[in-house]
Symmetry: none
Subunit: 183 residues, 4 copies
DNA sequence: CATGAATGAGTATTCATTCAT
DNA sequence: TATGAATGAATACTCATTCAT
């Protein structure tokens, strides 16, 4: 029973992510999410308190994928250059969709630090571990590395429409290495 | 009673920029814009066809300020390093507000290249002039310079809540110089 | 909470007919229909797509009453004279209201033959059956009979304000017999 | 100066008649009437108190054409049969347009006898003169003749979409002779 | 007299949320 | 737990009318 519940909640989030990505927050109705998830409209409210709560769920979900990306990249690379290559490759999978969710969330909770911390906590923490691990090879302080990585990742989404994805990814990889890795 | 036309349109845009920046697009009613601009609700529609049209007006306005920033920075600097310093200083004035408008517009017209070109045309063109002017000192191709500048500028907005503005600005300046200027 | 569907739709139509009859189409708000039907404004839209759709529903309803009037009159009369008497008696019940709806609909869809056919189809068909049945006694072609009957019925509505209803009805009965029945 | 004024008022009415005929009352804006009449929006209000007042002007105008039709038909015919032929021919000129105006007016002032009398007064009076003139040949009372003539004329408009105009006109002529003329 | 910029009252429609079943 | 019928708050936009010029 508990399992079933989790499955349903996850199903809702996955469909919501798809729809929010495609149409934005306001242009997606709770009904349509329910429709895509093949459940009744009212059922949504068994799992989420409000529509905003669904977006929060989506954001949490996205940050978890990011966090696991970082973990994977760190697990498979001994040196920071390889780590960055792997990380960017992972980040660019579903990048448009994931970035979109972050934008929506950011816009909604602009200034609300509490929510922000709750969601980005684990993500930032994971970055800190990585920083510690590759410390020797990094030439900038933690805050800057965090800024550069997060910034480029988010920006990529907005820029991508006007530039070939592969070129974009390589430019970003190169830029990050220039900014972060000791020479 | 027909003289002030341009003044009034500008007034509307300025108040709309303020409100959109603060509350986003959907959470600002046309009435409230009219209220802030101290004119009647109907008057808005003398100057703008729809609410979307107001956002477009705001975006055009913001791009014009960016374009004039670039122009100013180029006018007062013989070398690219100085140009970047001045440009970033100018970009960071009202940056949160201006970036916010661009986000809103971007989200609304995501994928609509036509609108995009109409508004970014002059902006990109101005960058191209700058690129030609400092060509000797720049180590990356135009597209990358454009990506790095626009990207960092927009990202700064999203990051700023979590970082001291002065540090952010200096980090960005430094990063850009590293990425763009020949050594 | 999902049983009463048909009842509720019918209730809405009945109240809409009353209001449209009294105030016309544009001067009746959807809210007021909801108010009279003692349901929420939004509920209207569970049963009708648009306000125009409500008018269409009313028209369909009215044509059904006309059709059933014709049926009744034919069922209870062996001869055309009696048929016309009965039919006119039935037509004059609620005649102002019913005619009014037809006017509104006619004005709205003036020229739109498709809608017209959809609604008048069964009505005209019923007239054709009647024509066949009383054929021997009728001296004019079908189209004329249809014109005279429909025409007088609708006209009666516009004229009635200036003339005693009983005299009007008798005049119409007499005129129709003169025009339609073989002597 | 007085002449100019009358010309302008007439111009407004003529354009309003065209527009009301085509689009109905609510779907014609005062602006569009002004536009068609090639004058400023505000100028309309020099000649008419309200939009309703324009419709009243149109109705008066239409009734005047009807009245003059009756006059013409009576002037050129010694016998009622010829009178009816001529009258119907004249009525059918611009019949759709003129009937439409009457419908609009009727709907607007349904029940308001005062307005009605003011506008139909001369028209009815003219009919009375005609009745007196052809009295010997007429078999029905005045009220019935008035009902039959006005009724058929108005109805023709609603029926016309579904029937050939020439057939319609001939049917009506014949019907009226049957109902009105002594044999 | 003529104008059209300014105004705000008025309304159809959407949709998050509730709750009886 | 699951549902979807019912609800009403909220909002963009239109247009008759006014009035300063």
């Amino acid at each position: 029973m508990q399992v079933k519940k989790e499955n349903k909640k996850e199903k809702i989030i996955k469909e919501a992510v798809k729809l929010f990505t495609k149409y934005g927050f306001e242009d997606v109705s709770v009904s349509s999410i329910a429709g895509e998830a093949r459940i009744g409209k009212g059922t949504i409210y068994t799992y989420f308190k409000t529509k905003d709560d669904i977006l929060e769920g989506c954001t949490k979900y996205v940050f978890n994928t990011f966090t696991s990306d970082i973990e994977k990249a760190a697990d498979t690379n001994m040196e920071i250059a390889g780590f960055l290559d792997t990380l960017l490759d992972l980040f660019f999978v579903d990048m448009p969709s994931r970035s979109r969710i972050l934008f929506l969330f950011h816009r909604k909770y602009y200034g609300t630090k509490r929510k922000d911390a709750k969601l980005t906590g684990r993500y930032k923490e994971m970055f800190r571990k990585v920083y510690e691990r590759y410390k020797e090879e990094i030439k900038c302080p933690f805050e800057q590395m965090y800024l550069f990585l997060t910034g480029f990742m988010m920006t990529s989404y907005m820029i991508q429409a006007n530039i070939d994805e592969e070129i974009l990814k390589e430019s970003v990889k190169e830029a990050l290495k220039t900014l972060i890795v000791k020479t």
